[in-house]
């Protein structure tokens, strides 16, 4: 059949380019492998030429694939599944990139692109290490290319082709609309499904590329380690790999924290870190990479810890692959909010892990004995000893987190069980990691005051004394005056939190002092101290903001006369009636009005005034509601926040009154009997029961009074269920009607007379537009979160400073012709 209006060419071009990328990377791998093992200079040169050309063709193809996908999405070619599933006409063009990241194929593509960039740099900078290092990277490119290949090998499908047409999708086979040649003119096909609202955020445009650069860069230290084992030049690579390790740790750290910032700002996940399996999967390779960084530094300075360095780099890269498996295999389906739904790529993902891990470990263990090591033990007063201990703690913390993250899904899969995370999963992590924070904080503080090999006791004690005392005083002040009220998990955990506060303050103070006393204020040499200082600030920010996070919109149940039973814990949402000043913890809050804007009028902003009870400081926040894209009735909200230097106030709307236009506010009378139904515009109601002086009523009844209550169940068209209990109240001879309202349906229901003879009751129903405009919202105060962001920036800067210095050192070590001449003369 000839379909009308389809643009087939971009897809064919794109698919050709993915195959080209696959073939070129395969040739590059083989050619680089041959280069590495070549015996003669001529052989090396010719293989290397081929390998470089192949790798460059691969890079070209990968970039072209990306541009093709971008073209398809940005020109709204909805015949393609990628565009139809992940974008829509209404989408802000700024988020087009986010559409690409949203799909599995797109994130694999991003990863591949970064490998290309890193590979091109290494090709010209790695010198004699180019061939073995690039063999590893080219091979990784082959594996990643299979993920977007979408070819069938026998019955097994290899990867997902990002250039599938909607009608070519397996599930779409025999879908009736594709029997029409003009299917593209059907409204459903003329616009896409749109991008998930949560991803329509500027963090989602920039955070995935940075995070994936972090993931991709872990391959470089790994490739150097493999190159060392392979060429049996066990020690020659360590100086060249150090700047790359710093780069990888810095960028991956930055990417993780950008993800945390996104989670924090969207507030949907309840803060910057929730120990979600997907978050953990990115943290764990970073921890091991940082462990490897420290042992690498130790080796370069002292000759110790080389074996551990090899192991850490292998495992760090493996954990990146493992996290890919966890997040994409669907195995986390029930335990993560971020994970992808299951697909048929499991076998391919498991193979990806095995194909790197098994040969690496065989190579490592078979050459283990040959890797140089120093038999003599490190002194307890040496820097290398404590750095190794620190690396070990990082590594074990990573293993524990990995275990906690992946034990239940994998165990369930293998053993057919149904275990799940503990009741309070965050606390299960926190109660362990708080001690890791204590150990790391203290090691970070004292580490640099120790010298390599050995430190005279007196010198160490003298130098570390002042920062220790200062840190003790400062942390005591924070503990005593900082209002640390984290009592939720008992005194033991609270004590650990205080201890961790000391450790982090110690890390900050000791490293700040060391920059001046140890480094004489030469920042450009003090990368390590700067990074450690930033790390200390991050720890402190995490501890204080988590421990002191305050719920402002505390609903203590005073406003809940209708709830079937009240609950001990204060609940999270508070309702603000329009124009009514409401008590909200430290603030007075007033809901002023709302305003719809946006291209399609699909965003509603709520204006909410705040006034600080103590300081009188006034500000206005505008949280919003976004009507979901096409074909979806739902809404999702964006919070708004007020940033202070020492705290953030966050507000997000959870529900609001509807806008109806029919303000013909008239009561209608209905004469009904028990179990009769009354219809209104938005649904119907049933008179369930009428009772006299019922027990447990909210009205105060004297013995002489009579209260007749109608119990009415209201069913709205959107299948919501409400209860209304209007009443007639006789106080002596006075009678009055107590109307009840169903705010959400803009209903007012009255019960106005009883006919004893016919057992009929008169009900009055009024529908009015926006009877009581209100918003229900959540509000939080996060204190000192800025310490975390500031710490992140400082830590990444520290990595950058270290990277620059180590890069200069590594370059100056390279034997150039100039230095050779100088050596000859001397």
């Amino acid at each position: 059949m000839n379909y009308i209006g389809e643009h087939i060419f971009p897809g064919q071009l794109g698919h050709f380019l993915t195959i080209l990328a696959f073939v070129a990377s395969l040739i590059a791998s083989i050619a680089y492998f041959k280069t590495t093992n070549a015996k003669t200079i001529d052989e090396t040169a010719s293989w290397k030429r081929l390998a470089r050309v192949a790798f460059m063709i691969e890079c070209f193809a990968v970039f072209a694939v990306f541009i093709t996908i971008f073209y398809i999405i940005s020109t709204h070619k909805f015949e393609y599944s990628y565009a139809w599933n992940h974008s829509s006409l209404a989408l802000n063009p700024g988020y087009l990139f986010a559409c690409i990241w949203e799909a599995q194929e797109g994130s694999f593509l991003l990863w591949t692109i970064w490998h290309c960039v890193l590979g091109l740099i290494l090709m010209f900078r790695a010198g004699k290490w180019e061939a073995p290092v690039m063999t590893v990277i080219s091979f990784a490119q082959v594996c990643l290319a299979t993920m977007i290949l979408g070819l069938y090998v026998g019955h097994a499908k290899l990867g997902i082709n990002p250039f599938m047409l909607v009608r070519q999708l397996e599930v779409m086979q025999n879908a009736p609309i594709f029997s029409r040649p003009d299917y593209l003119s059907i409204p459903m096909m003329r616009d896409g499904q749109g991008l998930n609202q949560l991803l329509q955020n500027y963090w989602m445009v920039i955070h995935p590329p940075v995070l994936f650069l972090g993931f991709a860069s872990t391959i470089v230290p790994f490739a150097y380690a493999i190159a060392g084992l392979w060429k049996k030049e066990y020690t020659g690579w360590t100086k060249a790999a150090l700047p790359w390790t710093l780069f990888s740790a810095g960028i991956l750290g930055l990417g993780i924290m950008m993800g945390a910032a996104w989670a924090y700002e969207s507030l949907t996940f309840g803060g910057f870190w929730a120990w979600d399996p997907v978050e953990n999967a990115s943290l764990v390779p970073w921890l091991v990479m940082v462990a490897g960084l420290h042992t690498l530094v130790v080796y370069n300075a002292t000759g110790h810890s080389l074996r551990a360095t090899y192991l850490f780099f292998i495992i760090s890269f493996f954990l990146v692959l493992f996290s890919t498996f966890l997040t994409r295999s669907g195995i986390l389906g029930d335990s993560s909010v971020h994970a992808f739904v299951e697909n048929d790529m499991n076998f391919q993902l498991i193979s990806l892990m095995a194909v790197f891990l098994v040969p690496s470990l065989i190579l490592f263990f078979s050459r283990y004995k040959a890797i140089p090591h120093i038999v003599k033990e490190e002194s307890s007063y040496s820097r290398e000893f404590w750095m190794f201990i620190g690396a070990l703690v990082l590594f074990l913390a990573a293993l524990v987190i990995s275990w906690q993250t992946s034990f239940t899904p994998i165990y369930n899969k293998l053993a057919g069980k149904s275990t799940a995370a503990p009741e309070d999963p965050e606390f299960a992590y926190n109660k362990i990691q708080v001690f890791v924070a204590v150990v790391l904080g203290i090691l970070t503080a004292i580490g640099q005051y120790l010298r390599y090999k050995d430190t005279p006791r007196a010198v160490f004690v003298k130098k570390v004394g002042i920062p220790t005392v200062v840190a003790l005083v400062l942390s005591l002040l924070i503990s005593l005056l900082g209002d640390i009220h984290y009592h939720k998990h008992g005194p033991g955990f609270l004590a650990a939190v205080h201890l961790a506060i000391f450790a982090s303050v110690y890390a900050i103070v000791a490293n700040a002092v060391y920059i001046w006393t140890g480094m004489n204020g030469k920042i450009k040499n003090a990368g390590g101290s700067v990074a450690h200082l930033g790390f200390g600030l991050m720890l402190l920010g995490i501890l204080i903001s988590s421990a002191n996070k305050d719920l402002l919109s505390k609903n203590n149940g005073i406003l809940l006369p209708f709830a079937p039973e009240s609950k001990q814990d204060p609940t999270e949402n508070l309702t603000l009636i329009k124009g009514m000043r409401t008590d909200m913890g430290k603030y007075w809050a007033t809901y002023q009005n709302k305003d719809s804007t946006g291209q399609h009028g699909n965003i509603t902003y709520f204006k909410i005034d705040f006034e600080n009870k103590k300081s009188g400081d006034k500000f206005t926040l505008y949280p919003n509601f976004i009507k979901a894209t096409k074909g979806q009735e739902g809404v999702s909200g964006n919070p708004d926040s007020r940033h202070y230097w020492d705290k953030d106030v966050f507000v997000s709307v959870s529900a609001t009154s509807f806008d109806n236009v029919n303000d013909t506010a008239q009561f209608r009378k209905y004469n009904v009997k028990l179990k009769d139904t009354v219809f209104y515009s938005g649904g119907y109601m049933i008179l369930n029961n009428v009772s006299i002086n019922p027990a447990g009523t909210k009205h105060h009844i004297n013995p002489s009074d009579t209260l007749i209550v109608a119990d009415i169940a209201v069913f709205s068209a959107d299948s919501m269920h409400y209860r209304a209990t209007p009443a007639i109240f006789w106080k002596g001879t006075d009678s009055r009607f107590i109307f009840d309202t169903v705010f959400a349906q803009n209903l007012s229901v009255g019960f106005t007379s009883v006919n004893k003879d016919t057992h009929a009751f008169e009900l009055q129903v009024k529908e009015s537009a926006a009877m009581v405009p209100y918003v229900a919202l959540k509000a939080y105060e996060f204190p000192h979160i800025n310490l975390l962001w500031l710490g992140t920036v400082i830590m990444v800067t520290g990595f950058g400073i270290g990277l620059r210095r180590r890069y200069m050192l590594a370059r100056s070590l390279k034997p150039s012709r100039h230095t050779a001449v100088v050596e000859n003369q001397s």
């Binding site: 906690q404 034990f407 149904s418 503990p422 999702s636």
Partner: protein, 135 residues
Amino acid sequence: MKKTHIVILIFIAAAIAVLVSFTGNLTTYETVASARQKEGKFVRLIAKVDKTRPIEYDPAKDPNYMSFTAIDTLGNTTKVIFRNSKPPDFEKSERLVLNGKMQNGLFECKDMLMKCPSKYKDDPNVMKKNLTITD
């Protein structure tokens, strides 16, 4: 024995102790029937919204009270009380993981994880449904 080895052994022992205690704290995924048998125990109930029964939520009266009926794959149902605001797109969710306890025949839900078609577009069934409804 080198002191590094001693430190490593201590750490590994600590790590194992931690992991064993973690395994002891694990909860389980349950169906309605099996959750009823474990009344009062914290479980994770896998179910979906029974759309034939009403969802009760009136934020003007109480923004922290929502109730609905959940139905599991075996067809068993239970009323669920969730003391929080109705999550966005709740009606559209295809699958729920409800974390809480069965108490007096009601499921007291502490928090929930929703799987929505909009969030998980890679789910083929949803995609097919979206297209076939239209024609």
